[in-house]
């Protein structure tokens, strides 16, 4: 990939997608046995597993909140998920992602029902291809629903960005690495309606107008993903088997 290569030619991106087109997405709920809820998700070449444990008693006691559940979120990359082997364990990037991801679920999960307990969300990135944090949020949302954790709605997330001076939906790796801006956004969606932004980060260089365009695209993308999340949960309820 050269830095000055054209990313968009005749309205098509390098991987053949249109500017406002998502990568292929595959979502399956209930893929793990031990956890209370789980989800396998592919978004382009991202491969993500999410698991939820809880609500369960939180130890040690001094971590408990007497009034509500404590949400914990651990985003983790497998050592083999990236080009150059990543040393196991949390690095600064994953600590930050875990923090903002946890905060994205805080206003959505009905924590007051479970004082003194924890709801633990674990994300494992098995293969990374840009947008792992938003893919993780989408998977976590499904895993929470699969675990029966009461929520006011769904969290649905996508990254939008700027490449070749175009605002595009759902960056893949090369666009992320060599593009002009990356904006991961998570929306809170209730009954198919976007109610607000629950995660927002950005780095790059954009104008306010471009930001508006980006958020418009993000909303479109999130609604599409939301449909797939619902579908996966519906399949799970119908008791369909997990097919690899």
């Amino acid at each position: 990939m050269e830095e000055n290569q054209k990313f968009i030619v005749n309205g098509k991106r390098i991987d053949g997608r249109k500017i406002d087109e998502l990568r292929p997405i595959k979502i399956e709920a209930g893929v793990l046995k031990r956890s209370d809820g789980s989800c396998y998700l592919e978004m382009g070449n991202n491969k993500i597993i999410a698991a939820v444990y809880g609500p369960r008693a939180l130890h040690p006691r001094h971590l408990q909140d007497p009034n509500k559940a404590v949400i914990r979120y651990r985003y983790n990359m497998a050592p083999f998920s990236v080009e150059e082997r990543k040393r196991p364990g949390p690095d600064r990037r994953s600590v930050e992602i875990s923090k903002v991801s946890r905060e994205a679920f805080e206003p959505v999960v009905i924590k007051e029902l479970f004082p003194r307990s924890s709801i633990d969300i674990f994300i494992e990135v098995l293969q990374a291809d840009a947008g792992t944090r938003v893919a993780g949020l989408n998977a976590a949302s499904v895993a929470l629903a699969d675990a029966g954790v009461p929520m006011k709605g769904m969290v649905t997330a996508v990254a939008v960005g700027k490449v070749d001076d175009h605002i595009v939906l759902d960056l893949f790796k090369d666009e992320d690495n060599y593009g002009q801006a990356d904006i991961p956004i998570a929306m809170f969606i209730r009954d198919g309606k976007i109610e607000g932004i629950t995660l927002l980060q950005m780095d790059g260089q954009i104008t306010k107008d471009e930001l508006k365009e980006a958020i418009k695209l993000a909303k479109k993308g999130c609604l599409e993903i939301y449909r797939l999340q619902k579908e996966a949960l519906f399949k799970r309820c119908r008791g369909e088997d997990f097919v690899e």
């Binding site: 150059e84 600064r92 990037r93 930050e96 903002v100 805080e106 932004i197 927002l200």
Partner: protein, 262 residues
């Protein structure tokens, strides 16, 4: 023993701050979109390659810059390296603990770093010594001294002020004469607390006790947005976001002027 009474006082104070806000007043008399007084003291650590102290009201941060040659990253063999680190040392606040950086200091360092990096403030290609082998590494070390709120803006301000004040120590390492580090853009971050419908620019620690919900928006010399970070557990509406963008860009312009005048 100050603790028990302290807790009660803290609660009363929190209440007081909140009731004032409901009356559209900030406890220190500021307007909602007003920064506290800003003082920028460059070169406070003469033995560092660059440095600055920033006072944002009673919040105090020192940033020191050290530079040394080292290996580039394999995927950018012709570019220098920026490493930004924040130490929220327990001297600066009763709530900071000794130990390795927690998620708050990591987030702070990373948001500061993104502002500098994405604005292109430093031309990393100018920091290449021998491609693939040896480049300048810039260590931006943020050292909080007194946390009276909005450490983030104080830190990003001190960071860019310190960089504007940095000399590349070429001589020390045998690479010719020392040079001024060229800074080609001035990113400025603006952090606002989001409380119910209110937006409070540059929150004080009294205000931060009411809510951790805030948005940081960094813009560059051309009013481009270069970094945004929503932090805290809340829903942000699209309208509020655009309001924050306008406010942040405007406030940043004023601060950028101050930086240029230092």
């Amino acid at each position: 023993m100050k603790t028990l009474s302290n807790e009660i006082i803290a609660d009363i104070k929190k209440d007081f701050v909140y009731r004032k806000l409901k009356n559209n007043e900030r406890v220190d008399g500021r307007k909602f979109d007003e920064f506290r007084s800003i003082e920028i003291i460059p070169g406070i650590i003469p033995r560092a390659e660059g440095s600055a102290m920033v006072k944002l009201g009673d919040t105090e941060v020192v940033v020191g810059i050290k530079m040394q040659p080292g290996e580039p990253f394999p995927d950018t063999p012709d570019k220098g390296v920026i490493i930004t680190n924040a130490e929220l040392v327990p001297l600066a606040s009763p709530t900071f603990e000794p130990g390795p950086p927690d998620e708050n200091s990591i987030e702070l360092a990373r948001v500061v770093d993104r502002g500098i990096r994405e604005s292109g403030a430093i031309d990393l290609e100018k920091l290449c010594i021998t491609e693939g082998e040896n480049v300048w590494i810039i260590f931006i070390d943020i050292h909080a001294l007194d946390d009276d709120g909005n450490l983030l803006d104080a830190s990003s301000l001190a960071a860019i002020a310190a960089l504007m004040n940095t000399t590349i120590p070429s001589e020390k390492f045998g690479y010719g004469d020392d040079e001024i580090l060229p800074v080609r853009n001035i990113p400025v971050s603006v952090t606002s607390l989001v409380l119910d419908e209110a937006i409070l620019v540059d929150p004080s620690s009294d205000e931060e006790k009411l809510t951790p919900n805030r948005v940081t928006i960094t813009s560059d010399s051309d009013d481009n947005l270069v970094s945004m970070q929503k932090s805290g557990a809340f829903l942000l509406s699209e309208e509020k976001l655009y309001e924050l963008v306008d406010l942040s860009v405007e406030k940043a312009r004023g601060i950028r002027e101050m930086l240029r005048d230092v």
